[in-house]
Symmetry: C2
Subunit: 178 residues, 2 copies
């Protein structure tokens, strides 16, 4: 392709806000027209979200209150990937902590999230899941396991009433379930 | 459902960071265990992203550099919804500004984005698109229109190498194209 679109040149980068894991970086770019412009970029990730499916073809979800949208949602298990963890390891750790389920993990891909964030979120599918323990959430996590049929999960994705919707669709697409 | 999951009580909310449209609010919640905890929530949106399909069944995308992932991507047209605009109006405005295409707009749904953001992003599908003008991007927008076949667009969604992936899948799902 004759590509007229150019990469921007990064001139500088500094932390503009940090509290816990919420970080904003001020990044100066030189634009293709030569002008210099500052952008306030969310420094986030890497994260993983898990499409976990039981031997009975049910999707394992985590019912929990979400402070951004201020509502209770049925969400994919997931969280940040710790240093030295692979996405598959992080996905299985989060799945077990939040639901007590485990199965066979496969990394599908790593998805971008936002034009103004560094976030990369890996999509891990975990198939043939069984419940192996009780959930072990953190002290300030309040979660309940929800099992949905593939049909009801697809309707939930389509409704938009959850986060990480792209990971659910990508996982279903990978498994040939769309 | 016997729902053991409770909503959290919001105790206070104040702006912790603001620069241009990047805003972080400090929100104090009382958790279900009675403990008080502060969260740093991204105040974002409302936004719209557009799945635009031409009369030849090609998807209209916007090739552009993205400063968060620091890479050139083929993205869905979209942006913030202005006050007094409907999602359909905002979607058509962004589509025309970024690509010069217009067509018949339908709002599919409004999707949540992140557990720690107020973002709601409407999915608007625009069908029977024609090019009606040249793009009229802002002074600091550098864009090129890309047309992809439905097959190539589906492969792009599955690859994770764009943002607003959920809007692409929801739009295809709504149109019966998955």
């Amino acid at each position: 392709m004759d590509d007229s679109i150019q990469e921007w040149k990064e001139l500088s980068r500094e932390m503009a806000f940090q509290k816990y894991s919420r970080k904003i970086e001020k990044v100066m770019f030189q634009l293709p027209n030569g002008k210099e412009s500052d952008f306030y970029i969310k420094k986030e990730g890497p994260a993983v979200a898990v499409l976990a499916i039981t031997k009975n073809n049910e999707v394992v979800l985590v019912r929990q209150f979400r402070p951004g949208p201020k509502t209770i949602l049925n969400e994919l298990p997931g969280g940040y990937i710790d240093q030295k963890e692979t996405p598959e390891e992080a996905g299985l750790r989060e799945l077990k902590e939040e639901t007590g389920y485990l199965g066979k993990a496969q990394l599908v891909t790593t998805a971008l999230d936002c034009a103004y964030s560094t976030m990369e979120r890996s999509c891990v599918v975990v198939t043939e899941c069984d419940k192996v323990s009780e959930p072990t959430p953190d002290e300030n996590e309040f979660v309940e396991t929800i099992l949905l049929s593939l049909e009801d999960f697809r309707a939930l994705l389509k409704s938009g009433k959850m986060t990480d919707i792209e990971i659910g669709y990508i996982g279903l697409d990978f498994l040939g379930l769309l």
